[in-house]
Symmetry: D2
Subunit: 271 residues, 4 copies
């Protein structure tokens, strides 16, 4: 079997830049924000709080892939505009999900990084489109994707000409129902051994339970992750979607301080 471009054997590790941030370097990147973009004022308020505690990048859903057609589908383009405005105001880069290959071109005016959600990891039409553009991609693992399938999904983008791909482990679907998904940190350890791309972890979807997010954030970093993407809200109980897994700004602050300590250890290890 031929090597993939994303295999360690095919070259040096790839660092993915998003404005001034670098995924895959010694600094761990913390992305946070609400599940859905709700309105400008709230988004700005959250962003300002997040910036204060050291969050480097904003997330917020504008196009929401929802299981039922009757569920809230996100603010769509209106949401993108809000994200863009808040990004300009706070000078924080943003990442948001795009689901339709027809929206890729347009979205580049609004976001610094395009997220491919778990449901679209096998959407090869979308992946091919993303291989043609020059924007960093956050590629979430499919909910039942093997490691091999996930890396080959990344290969669709990289072989198309865009090597700016950051992988994101977000939990897989198993028989366990206590947690929303089973966060598979084995995959993170494996990626650091065999793949050139950076990988971050989403402990919010990976657990579905806010009380497990702090421990699993630290575990992710210890497993080798290059960063975290965490759902947070000023008022977690009132967020429009996924409130059960959303944490407060204060809880996130504690996580960041734990991550900093782990960075210290890792840095020592490498020195």
């Amino acid at each position: 079997m031929r090597n993939l471009l994303v295999d360690k054997k095919s070259g040096d590790d790839i660092k993915v830049k998003v404005r001034d941030l670098k995924f895959g370097g010694t600094e761990k990147i913390i992305i946070s924000g609400p599940c859905s973009v709700e309105n400008y004022d709230l988004m700005l308020k959250i962003a300002i709080e997040l910036k204060k505690i050291g969050v480097q990048m904003l997330r917020g859903g504008a196009f929401k892939p929802r299981t039922s057609p009757y569920d809230f589908q996100g603010l769509q383009f209106e949401g993108l505009k809000i994200l863009k405005a808040v990004s300009r105001e706070t000078q924080m880069p943003v990442v948001t999900e795009i689901m339709d290959p027809r929206d890729v071109e347009m979205s580049m005016d609004f976001t610094d990084m395009i997220q491919v959600g778990s449901r679209n990891m096998y959407n090869y039409s979308l992946l091919k489109e993303l291989g043609k553009v020059n924007v960093p991609i956050l590629l979430k693992r499919g909910m039942s994707a093997t490691l091999s399938e996930w890396l080959k999904a990344a290969e669709y983008i990289v072989s198309g000409g865009n090597e700016n791909v950051v992988l994101c482990e977000r939990g897989i679907r198993t028989f366990e129902s206590y947690t929303r998904n089973t966060l598979d940190l084995n995959s993170v350890a494996a990626i650091k051994k065999k793949c050139r791309l950076p990988v971050i972890v989403d402990p919010s979807h990976g657990t579905g339970l806010r009380e497990l997010v702090p421990n699993m954030s630290l575990a992710s970093i210890a497993a080798g992750a290059d960063g975290l993407i965490i759902e947070s809200h000023i008022s977690p109980e009132n967020s429009l979607s996924d409130s059960r897994q959303t944490i407060s700004i204060e809880a996130l602050g504690n996580i960041i301080s734990g991550v900093k300590k782990l960075e210290g250890i890792f840095y020592e290890d490498k020195a």
Copy 2:
């Protein structure tokens, strides 16, 4: 929770017509053909043989969703043209997979039914597009989709205005590795109890092993399926993809004769 349009409680069972065929009636529909469309002569030859043994409808992949970007991706538009020509020649309706929402409009000139593959069951942009057109849809179950998610994917199409949806069970992803997937016939029995849409079964992908296809075809019909979609080839060992699960025309003939016997029993039951 509101009822879905596809729930039994919301109305009579939906029969889906594809030319003269009717999914969801007393006759079981057998769809067959090779995994990929390879060339016109071979496709025609296979189609003629299939028609002789009682196959009512043709399948053949033109756009192939492949795990690796380096695998054969199908003949694409060339494949559609071949399917159309063979369909005209044999007077058999055809079904083929479309993956990109931008291809939906165009494909309607070439195919009688559009298949949504397992990897795209959660591709809501595609589903929404299919809700707007007037063409029958074959909606395969996602490889790790729950019954509830699958029915809601159908609801995306039906609520968009297109109620011509046939469900297709094709196996789910489990720990078992002896078979390619675990064919979940519980889902078929459940759909017949709670959903208005017809459901067929794909025992080729559902087992991945040609020697299991005959027994599982009969089991599917006994579980209540309205038809079968089976990969066959004049020369199974030489098919371009999925050869391990492709059966011969002769083996398919035996299956069809078994299905006819089961139809007899079922018809009696209902009389």
Copy 3:
């Protein structure tokens, strides 16, 4: 890798006799009864009704493996005595579960067949003990056992000297939560191809939903199963355990009449 004794290649198919019944012959064996033995009068009443509709063998749990130590653990020895008495009264053979290797010897005075439950398929101490005795064994598949592990569990018994093993598919644990388990009929088709032992199906545990039991019973027989084990009760709603999956005597009668029709087809096929 050496062949197993249970592999087709190692000899003729094994027919397992339980008194006058023969598992693995042309006649399909129907085993039924309540989840738990509750008391003598009720057990006798159920047995008489079951015999009338053509059930050949009785089941009833005396030692119940329960997830919680605080759940009803069965009548234990008292239950065995009741089974024995009802068996004598109705002349029907019985099967019941034994969990402890220390109970094997004793249980042979009370039951015609010993069931190894799903939770004990990997209990090699128990399997070894059962290899030493001369009593037919019903070996249920572990809830997450691969086909290969299951056949090797049977091999523990057969290689110990007792080849009277009937396999029982009862569903595996997957992400799907609509049904209690995912009934894996692929395993039945595979066993008929590669293994010398008879195999039956338990659609009660395999679905967990009584409304799915009829269709899945027929599907099991069509997939090649040599029989069925089904939970039934005179008053399903009032059974002490598993009431949601227990069917009425009347529903069972309909299933048996469907099975007889399928036997007709299968018999013709073989003639």
Copy 4:
């Protein structure tokens, strides 16, 4: 639903003592040794090396639960004697697996802690026996056990009168085949929130790949684990079983030094 004795709400956290060691305190416990006990000289040699690098407790399999009856089943009683002798020589406590309820009494003369393996987590006859004795138990999670089932298995022992139970996460069975199992650290975080018992992690079985063991060991501790059980060998490539997941003494030394650093952080957090 009644609270379980093992629930946080039912009382203070339980610290489990094995000789001078305390599971559930501030010190993380490292257990290590070969998969199987092979002979006295080798076991002693390994033990001495392990003690030097800070391992506090020895593991070694005497009774090995093997999928095939033809695989090496361990040295059995001979293995227990070797463990006992090495333990006396090195003053290190030992843990070993017992599978048969009839062996429990006898084994107490040879081991400081009894391990219930993954395959026997649902073996309620064994669990009940272990509830009656006064010896610490290491209860591994069943390979497809939900968190709830696992805690109830512990409850069988605790409600029987023996509250000295340490839980051990060792990976669950999923569709992912790159790793032997999917290590579910969510379960560790959840146990620390809701259960009174200590929990350790087995990254050897949890990954099946020695190159992933270091990262996953640190991740386990960061997730909240009270210790680790790791397969190691002087000559990993030559170990009689599980060699692919066995690490060298040197690699283990590095892990222990990483764990010490994490202890520093955790200690600070609590101070």
